[in-house]
């Protein structure tokens, strides 16, 4: 199923992928987390990588962003092997937000966001009016302009994450890769951050994220990559991909997939061992 889907994307049905992994094998200290994986990121949409803990989703994201160097295979950005490109040139095309980044104590929001301009600067040209304009707009777009003079460490988790996204935006790339942008955020702030990510994609950017929460991933993604044990189990629109069978296969999770009463995507209702009205659970789920 996954192989067919990849060919469909590569054949140009939805535009050529700007970022793709070809036969990548990646691991830490001799142990391969991902072995010979192929994946293409469709342009202009939000792609979310989901999967159980330790399945290699962060490893895949880190490989796509050149943070990890594959032992074999390659990551291709705009037709070129990312390992052969200057890391600075990659930074002009691909913005990256790692998981739970930490700013030095006392660094102001404006200064943090201004760091995003680094790939466009040089030793002599450390700050131009262009930079100022882009940073102003990045601050405004993420709704943190009024916090510009505040130290980042004095902000709430949600505000802080907006500031980091703002820094990634100031980088001026149309490819954004976010590693668990909602970690440590309560649901309201998580929704807030993901709405922002959706705004960014609406203006033409390609977004790739790793998310833990399946319902948030389903709601906010146009393309899901479901991983298990280092390989891709399924890829496609949440409506096509999210089924009770898949959740069982990928996560070992018993769940019902129902229509989301407010959204246009499916809603996952997990079935645990307790607090469940058994008469509501379909027979085929019961027997598992």
């Amino acid at each position: 199923m996954s192989a067919e889907f990849i060919t469909e994307i590569e054949s140009g049905a939805r535009g050529l992928a700007r970022l793709a992994a070809k036969g990548v094998t990646v691991g830490y200290g001799g142990r391969n987390v991902i072995d010979g994986l192929d994946v293409a990121i469709p342009p202009g949409v939000i792609t979310t990588i989901i999967g159980p803990n330790g399945c290699g989703k962060s490893t895949l994201l880190r490989t796509l962003t050149r943070l990890l160097k594959p032992a074999s295979g390659s990551v291709v950005l705009d037709g070129e092997d990312i390992a052969r490109l200057k890391t600075r040139d990659v930074a002009k095309k691909l913005g990256l937000l790692p998981q739970a980044p930490v700013a030095p104590e006392g660094l102001t929001v404006a200064d943090l966001v201004a760091r995003g301009r680094h790939p466009h600067q040089s030793w002599l040209r450390q700050w131009s009016s262009d930079d100022a304009g882009v940073v102003e707009r990045a601050l405004a777009l993420t709704g943190v302009a009024d916090l510009a003079d505040r130290p980042v460490d004095s902000l709430s988790g949600g505000q802080r994450q907006r500031v980091w996204i703002s820094m990634t935006l100031a980088q001026g790339t149309d490819l954004l890769l976010l590693d668990e942008p909602t970690t440590y955020l309560d649901l309201a702030h998580a929704i807030d951050v993901l709405d922002l990510v959706d705004d960014l994609h609406e203006s033409g950017r390609t977004v790739v994220m790793v998310l833990h929460d399946l319902n948030l991933a389903t709601r906010y993604s146009d393309n899901l990559i479901v991983m298990r044990a280092g390989s891709i189990l399924a890829q496609g629109h949440p409506r096509d991909v999210i089924t009770a069978e898949l959740l069982d296969e990928a996560f070992g999770l018993r769940a019902m997939v129902v229509d989301d009463p407010v959204g246009d995507r499916p809603l996952i209702v997990p079935i645990g061992r307790t607090h469940v009205r058994l008469d509501q659970v379909p027979a085929e789920e019961c027997c598992k």
Binding site: L67, P101, D111, A132, A145, P151, D174
Partner: protein, 369 residues
């Protein structure tokens, strides 16, 4: 190439009102021809004031002595328009000591700022990178173990050079032990502390078992002092420091995003492992130069960046200001050691006595706000 339009800038259409209070959010820039940088008036003022203070203390330090010379005369002589007697006393006799203080102070301040920034930890100072420990162990070994190879090394290399070699050797050992696909700040600190502890154990063992006269000589070296500097030694230290500082200045731009962590820096196109390796080597070399010129002067490298950070109101140690505070602390301490106290103390005793309380004062003041 792509199916969707490629956008390289932040969307502008959605932004009408940039900020509710109408103020600019971003620091203004300064442009001089092709050169542009962020204008930070406070940092620039603090750095200039510190430089002025360093110059003042430098001149005061030259004026003080058995044959006191007034401040105006000192300045005139340094500028090359003094009388012949002053010229001799200042340029030939007193300048080496003052310059050694300046160079060692700047080297220690910048070295501390680099190690603290690289480790992202205010406790990291070149002392924990093993340089001080290694230099101390080697010099105490040479002083206390008489005859044979030790004496031969001491007579050919000189104590300072041998100590420098020992310090650099230990620093590089820590550096390579900490290397694991790049340098990790935490690992560096742990290995540095372990190696330093071994070196200190060796030093203590040598002192305990040595002859009492040698112990006194070794102790004097271990505290750090600016006594009896010659132009030859100072010239070497000065040139080494200038070359290393030039490398630091070149790498400083690439270092800026590294305060945000390795992965963010990598995302911004910085080859962080290489930048860090180069700058850490610079920190080790700067501390080595300082140790060879003045012995292991304690506390300056630890406290100078922290004081500079608080004075300049920066979230990370500012390099130039740290160097200035280092120089101010070292020359000032030497001045106090020679004048204010009834007995002449080595500078190292006073740096710790002044620097410690001042840092505590800054921390307490920050708490009271």
């Amino acid at each position: 190439m792509s199916g969707t339009p490629v956008r390289t800038d932040v969307r502008t259409d959605a932004v009408t009102d940039v900020r509710a209070d109408g103020k600019r959010s971003v620091a203004p820039g300064v442009r001089l021809g092709q050169v542009s940088f962020v204008w930070r008036p406070w940092l620039v003022c603090v750095t200039l004031l510190l430089a002025a203070a360093v110059f003042l203390v430098f001149c005061l330090s030259i004026g003080v002595g058995e044959f006191p010379i007034g401040l105006p005369q000192v300045v005139r002589t340094i500028l090359g328009r003094g009388e012949r007697v002053d010229q001799f006393v200042i340029m030939d006799l007193r300048m080496p000591r003052a310059l050694a203080g300046l160079v060692v102070g700047i080297a220690l301040g910048v070295s501390g700022a680099l190690t603290q920034s690289i480790a992202r930890n205010p406790l990291a100072s070149p002392d924990i990178l093993g340089i001080t420990g290694g230099a101390g162990a080697v010099s105490v070994f040479l002083v206390t173990v008489s005859g044979g190879a030790a004496a031969a090394v001491e007579s050919t290399l000189g104590l300072s050079a041998a100590a420098l070699a020992g310090g650099l050797g230990t620093g590089l050992l820590v550096y390579f032990l900490a290397w694991r696909r790049g340098i990790d700040g935490f690992r560096l600190i742990l290995i540095g502390i372990s190696v330093s502890a071994v070196m200190e154990a060796i030093t203590t063992w040598l002192l305990v078992t040595a002859d009492i006269k040698d112990v006194a000589r070794a102790q004097a070296w271990l505290v750090g002092s600016l006594d009896n500097r010659s132009w030859g030694e100072v010239r070497i230290a000065l040139w080494c420091t200038l070359v290393i500082l030039a490398v630091v200045a070149c790498a400083a731009f690439q270092f800026k995003p590294m305060h945000l962590g390795d992965e963010v820096a990598a995302g911004l196109g910085v080859r962080y492992a290489m930048v860090r390796a180069v700058l850490l080597l610079c920190a080790v070399l700067l501390a080595g130069v300082a140790v060879s010129a003045a012995g292991p002067v304690p506390f300056v490298a630890l406290v100078a960046p922290q004081v500079a950070m608080r004075l300049a109101r920066c979230p990370t140690p500012p390099m130039v200001a740290s160097g200035m505070v280092g120089a101010l602390l070292l020359i000032g301490a030497d001045l106090v050691a020679r004048t204010a106290l009834p007995i002449t103390l080595p500078v190292g005793v006073v740096t710790a006595a002044i620097g410690g309380p001042f840092l505590v004062y800054l921390l307490v003041r920050a708490n009271l706000r």
